[in-house]
């Protein structure tokens, strides 16, 4: 294994001197950001409304175009 550089040794010593709570919280935060990123990547990375905006035609279609017979209103279900 390659010898540690001065900076790495200093970082490792600071880490071992830090309080147990600081170490635990750091691990939790790393885990949390990882899980959050995974959720974002799996389900939310390609939202229909980027920057809170849709194509005008999409909005018009949703709000103003009458429901087609293939897409019955709830009352007819």
């Amino acid at each position: 294994m390659a010898a540690l550089t001065f900076r790495q040794r200093r970082w490792r010593s600071a880490w071992s001197r830090s309080s147990p709570l600081a170490r635990e919280i750091t691990w939790v935060l790393i885990l949390k950001f990882l899980l959050l990123w995974m959720i974002w990547w799996a389900f939310f990375s390609d939202p229909p409304a980027r920057h809170m905006q849709l194509e005008l035609s999409q909005v018009e279609h949703r709000l103003l175009i009458p429901a087609s017979p293939a897409e019955p209103a709830h009352a007819e279900r």
């Binding site: 974002w40 005008l56 103003l64 009352a75």
Partner: protein, 521 residues
């Protein structure tokens, strides 16, 4: 239109993530101010025990802050993905307070939280107190911006619908910021956070006192929590009353549903303390009422009525019929028929466009809706009464129990006999979950009571959701459920670990379990 399943699943997902997020928020909001009080006493008296208190409760604050930070960001993920039409419709207004909140949270709050923990040896006493104050101020400021955004959903002021962009557009920033609902919501929510933190400190201190551990430390913490908690609980109750008045002014349906007020009573209306709302028969069975109270709370008068659900439905029917006209005019404007007459017709009726949109769920062609379809939309315009009626009463019950706790805690603190009152210490310990239960139920009242709208009287929920595959929402819901449950387990585990260690975890050598510490430290 998205299927009803997708709408319901998206609502469930948003509701669950918001409720999970709010498990962390109130403790951060309140504990930060308790730290300011404890550290102020330390700066004024120079007694090391107050520094220890600030550092120990600061540790628990740090755990909660670390667990809670960014849990709210998942709500913002959902806006663009699950609520695309909502996002488009109101993004011009809603985006501003959310962006400011993000900046405040990341740059002010997080920076000063870092300084709070790492600045003890590097800053002067007063300098560090200023940092602690800024942590508390930053937390409250974050909450303010979020609640401004939320209040706008309940009472959409300072904005108008633009038929050319098909969005709501901001017309007055000051109206948005000084929305009366935002004002009462902020103070009520912040005060509820203070109660949560006071109950937390009181409960944990009671646990130490019951075990005769860290007695001096616990008694001082208990005393500060008792005073702060009593003031905060009284504030929550007074500000909750103010919230009732604001609701009576701007959210008549929510008020009628909270009260299960089916008929408009002769003023001043009575307050239903207890009963069983029967939505089908439109009456409250076995109701116990206090005369005049509701009228006074909701209208601050003896001669103004509080509208009942039946009258509100009649009003909604008229507004739905006006909404059909607005909807027809909007269709014509969008199809290129831009005559002055059509524009005027739309401008005159656009206040009720949202009510016309309610019909989209029931009528394939809104402008040709039948009386039966209009009737369905009218029925839809009132949320289910029982969940809101009960949530509100349990919330109030929790609040009154906490008031009793803090009155007793304050009284026995003043008489310096807390430690002998084992029953009081047990009461404080076992009532620790109540502020969280009350806060969650408060959100259920506020948000479920807004249905069937995402933006009150402007945009119905069923038109706000994206057209997604239900499987996608099931998977993301499962992902969130796992994520938040893991976080909650870690939070509880870390909290319990450091509570059990107590102030001995500071390593000062002054507390129970440390070598050299006095036996009853």
């Amino acid at each position: 239109m998205p299927s009803a399943d997708v709408v319901e699943l998206s609502r469930l997902q948003f509701g669950l993530t918001a409720l999970y997020h709010f498990l962390f928020v109130p403790l951060t909001l309140g504990l930060s101010w308790l730290l300011v009080i404890m550290e102020s006493v330390y700066v004024m008296t120079g007694k090391p025990v107050y520094k220890d208190m600030t550092q120990f409760w600061g540790k628990l604050f740090g755990i909660n802050f670390a667990m809670g930070v960014t849990t709210g960001i998942t709500l913002e993920f959902q806006f663009g993905t699950n609520w695309a039409y909502y996002s488009h419709y109101v993004g011009d207004i809603f985006g501003t307070p959310l962006a400011i909140e993000g900046l405040v949270a990341f740059f002010l709050e997080s920076t000063f939280v870092g300084l709070f923990f790492f600045g003890w040896e590097r800053l002067s006493k007063v300098g560090h107190l200023a940092v602690t104050f800024l942590v508390a101020f930053g937390s409250s400021l974050s909450a303010l911006w979020i609640l401004i955004a939320n209040a706008w959903m309940q009472n959409p002021v300072g904005a108008e619908f633009n038929p050319d962009t098909m969005r709501m557009e901001l017309t007055s920033v000051s109206e948005l910021i000084f929305n009366p609902v935002a004002q009462v919501k902020f103070v009520h929510t912040a005060a509820a956070g203070y109660v949560t933190a006071a109950s937390f400190v009181l409960g944990v201190s009671s646990w130490y006192l019951l075990r005769r551990k860290n007695v001096g430390f616990a008694l001082r913490s208990f005393a500060i929590a008792a005073g702060f908690g009593l003031a905060s609980t009284l504030s929550v109750i007074v500000l909750g009353d103010e919230s009732g008045y604001a609701t009576g002014e701007s959210q008549k349906v929510k008020l009628a549903v909270i009260e299960a007020e089916w008929e408009t009573q002769k003023p001043p209306a009575s307050f239903t303390v207890f009963g069983f709302p029967n939505q089908e028969a439109e009456r409250t069975d076995y109701a116990i009422r206090i005369p005049y109270l509701m009228g006074i709370i909701a209208t601050r008068s003896f001669d103004q009525p509080v509208m009942g659900i039946k009258d509100l439905k009649a009003d909604h029917q008229k507004r739905i019929e006006n909404g059909m006209i607005a909807y027809g005019a909007l269709q014509e404007l969008r199809s290129g028929e831009q005559s002055q007459k059509t524009r005027e017709l739309f401008e005159n009726q656009k206040r009720d466009l949202g009510y016309g949109l309610l019909l989209k769920k029931f009528a394939p062609r809104v402008v040709d809706a039948t009386p039966a379809q209009i009737h369905q939309a009218v029925e839809e315009s009132i949320p289910r009464v029982a969940p809101i009626f009960w949530s509100f009463r349990i919330m109030v019950g929790c609040g009154l129990t906490l008031l009793l706790l803090f009155v007793l805690a304050f009284y026995y603190c003043a008489r310096r006999s807390v430690i002998e009152r084992v029953w009081l210490l047990r009461f404080a310990l076992w009532t620790m979950p109540l502020p969280w239960i009350a806060a969650e139920l408060g959100w259920i009242v506020a948000e479920y009571g807004r249905q069937p709208w995402t933006i009150s009287e402007i945009l119905p929920t069923h038109l706000s959701a994206s057209s997604l595959d239900p499987a996608q929402v099931y998977f993301s819901l499962a992902g969130f459920f796992t994520f938040y449950t893991v976080l909650l387990i870690i939070e509880v585990w870390l909290m319990l670990k450091y509570i059990k260690l107590g102030p001995a975890s500071l390593g000062t050598g002054r507390y129970h379990g440390e070598s050299g510490a006095p036996a009853k430290a």
